[in-house]
């Protein structure tokens, strides 16, 4: 602490210098991080898609269905995570909410007759759990990382109370309603709905407010954006979409429950958002990128499976991919900022 006075003085001087430099550079041609981050997930998706078809040998509707069905839970969780990251936060509690809902689905919705009562109830639980996160973040001023870390622990404890080990079963009616295909795979319909919801949401006042908060919370406040209300809604929606993902996961993919199923979705959802080009600092990111990121992550697992390799190869490749993506985006941002400090102020 003794070093504080000189630190403070030079900090202000540096600030002024940066601002002066920014003024000089204004008017130069810019490459925005948005342009780079928009291209990367598309390229990655196409490359992995081609590799998957090559490894599999053929392309069929059922292949597309398999890929989408395994990705839908991550797309739904990723939707919530994208909203949260756009505000500059992070939601680790998706792991706990996902586990809790999966456990409830596998223990309470075992017969077709239970679905009508329990489906709205579990979705409400997801919504409420998320709203609690949001309320705590807004009211106590604790960091989202800490609040959701703690609530992840609490929710996953509740999941263990509902279902102590992997098991349970899911109402067959629910499974058959959600899986399979009409003319197109139902998973594709779900994905399309998510995209439409995003496109609509982005054009609403709520969407604008989310981006405003992520870009600069103080400015958003000054422009009378209802910061508290918007944040609570964002975390509540994250909880709701996580619950939707968990219902889909247990009824279409596993047909049973696991009180720890959600833990992998913490990393996976954050990774999908980051590969999709969102900035963890907030204000930049979009749902299409997240969907492409989620598909890329699950296609890696599919490719490893089709190639006949053990599943841990998928884990290794996913780790490399996530690290490469985050380092690439960081480098791009750094280069742009170095070349043109003005764009850093906007980002």
């Amino acid at each position: 602490m003794s070093a504080a006075p000189p630190v403070h003085a030079s900090g202000v001087a540096a600030d002024a210098a940066t601002r002066a430099e920014a003024g000089e550079q204004r008017g130069r041609a810019r490459v925005t991080p948005q342009q780079v981050t928009a291209v990367v997930p598309v390229v990655l998706f196409v490359v992995l898609f081609v590799v998957m078809i090559v490894v599999q040998g053929t392309f069929s509707g059922s292949l597309l269905q398999t890929v989408l069905e395994t990705t839908v839970p991550l797309i739904l969780v990723g939707f919530g995570q994208t909203l949260v990251v756009l505000t500059g936060g992070i939601d680790l509690s998706v792991g706990g909410i996902f586990s809790l809902v999966t456990a409830l689905v596998a223990t309470k919705m075992t017969h077709n007759g239970d679905v009508a009562t329990w489906l709205p109830l579990v979705l409400l639980i997801g919504l409420a759990a998320g709203a609690i996160n949001g309320l705590l973040i807004v009211r106590t001023k604790m960091q989202p990382f800490i609040v959701t870390l703690a609530s992840w622990s609490v929710f996953s404890g509740l999941a263990l109370l509902a279902l102590s080990t992997d098991g349970g079963s899911v109402a067959p009616g629910l499974s058959s309603t959600l899986s399979g295909s009409w003319i197109v795979p139902k998973a594709a319909v779900v994905t399309a709905v998510v995209i439409v919801v995003w496109l609509v949401l982005r054009r609403t006042r709520f969407g604008t407010n989310v981006l405003a908060i992520g870009s600069s919370e103080p400015s958003a406040r000054l422009n009378s954006v209802p910061v508290a209300r918007t944040k609570i809604l964002v975390y509540a929606l994250a909880g709701l979409f996580t619950a939707l993902g968990a219902v889909y996961y247990s009824s279409v993919l596993t047909f049973s429950g696991s009180p720890t199923a959600g833990d992998t979705f913490i990393l996976q959802s954050v990774a999908a958002v980051v590969i999709g080009g969102a900035s963890l600092a907030g204000g930049r990111g979009n749902m299409i990128g997240t969907i492409l990121g989620a598909c890329s992550l699950s296609m890696i697992a599919q490719i490893v499976f089709f190639a006949g390799a053990e599943s841990y190869w998928g884990q290794l490749v996913q780790g490399i991919l996530i690290l490469a993506a985050v380092l690439l985006f960081a480098t791009v941002e750094l280069l742009i900022r170095r070349r043109n400090p003005a764009s850093a102020e906007e980002a």
Binding site: S2, G157, L161, L280, G319
Partner: protein, 335 residues
């Protein structure tokens, strides 16, 4: 991540002095909470203060405390290290494969130490040099390292097994008369850690970077070197934690460190450090680690399973961090 940043001048005058004292209060509170918990439980359950039980609490807390040391340094530096579980798994599994007798331990360390240093370098350079977000970088290296462990051993390590060297069994569970070996080891490490943070230039640099990285660089702090060192130390602490955990459990498996992702951060937060960096010290983390182990013991007495433990851990973080935020709020910072 941060909320409204206070102007630098305001932050120094308010947070720098009274806020700092409030932070020390939070650390004192962590100790008071821990001691109170122990005393109250001992009143109801006399067996709780028996020498054997105290030793077992210390044995469990030590591993958490050592892994938490690395996490403390990283968090003071405004970072986070989520690659702890993989490093623990790697060091434990490699010990069981290559260091089954005390004589072989050096052979295992020749593999483990370079991996830990490499992991720390990748984490640290990504965060310091490329300004990549620590959360994603360390989550990615965690996945990558666990995947690499399984790939290089053809998945053979995914089963529980292996007989780690007796040396680490002694270090983590042994006792000399009534005194536990783990306690002695921990006290030694704690003295070094506290001295490092409070009394050396490196320690001052760590706090300076946590308070304001830009200002630290302007005033001549070697930011990149310090941040990279901090992540390397964290990986080495996790590696040592993995070795000790292998000895404690007397078996190893790749996922053996998975609980430490949460608990290593929890002990630092309960110990009064701010996730925004710049505050906290190792004494707080020690109290945090002891608190978690005592709570585990209490739940075992009450015959309550892991479900209640998770709920209680979460609530404990809310309460302690909430209190810290309340105390430090007038200092113009949120936690």
């Amino acid at each position: 991540m941060s909320a409204v940043p206070a102007p630098a001048s305001e932050r120094r005058s308010r947070f720098g002095q009274t806020g700092w004292r409030r932070r020390q209060l939070v650390i004192a509170f962590a100790w008071i909470l821990m001691i109170l918990l122990f005393v109250v439980v001992s009143l109801f359950e006399p067996g709780f203060r028996s020498n054997t039980n105290i030793r077992s609490i210390v044995d469990q807390s030590m591993i958490l405390g050592i892994v938490g040391l690395g996490q403390t340094l990283v968090i003071i530096c405004r970072g986070i290290d989520l690659s702890v579980p993989a490093m623990m798994g790697v060091s434990g599994v490699l010990l069981a494969r290559h260091g089954t007798t005390t004589g072989d331990v050096v052979g295992a360390l020749v593999l483990i130490v370079p991996i830990a240093i490499a992991l720390g370098l990748v984490n640290g350079l990504s965060v310091a040099l490329l300004r990549a977000p620590a959360i994603v970088v360390t989550l990615a290296t965690n996945t990558l390292l666990l995947g690499a462990l399984l790939v290089t051993t053809n998945g053979a390590t995914s089963q529980t097994g292996g007989e780690p060297a007796k040396l680490f069994r002694t270090l983590s569970t042994g006792h000399i008369g009534p005194i536990s070996v783990s306690g002695l080891v921990w006290i030694g490490i704690a003295i070094v850690a506290v001295a490092l943070l409070a009394g050396t230039r490196f320690g001052r640099h760590v706090y300076a970077i946590g308070n304001n990285p830009v200002a630290a660089r302007m005033s001549g702090v070697p930011v990149i070197r310090t941040v990279v060192s901090v992540y390397v130390v964290s990986s080495l602490c996790a590696a040592l934690g993995g070795l000790l955990l292998a000895g404690y459990l007397n078996q190893t498996f790749p996922d053996m460190g998975s609980d430490y992702l949460f608990t290593s951060i929890a002990v630092v937060l309960i110990g009064g450090a701010s996730i925004l960096g710049g505050t906290g010290n190792y004494l707080g983390t020690i109290a945090g680690a002891l608190t978690l182990s005592i709570l585990g013991g209490v739940l075992a007495i009450l015959n309550l399973g892991p479900a209640y433990m998770r709920i209680l851990y979460g609530v404990l973080i809310f309460v302690t961090v909430g209190l810290g935020t309340l105390l430090a709020r007038r200092g113009g910072r949120s936690t």
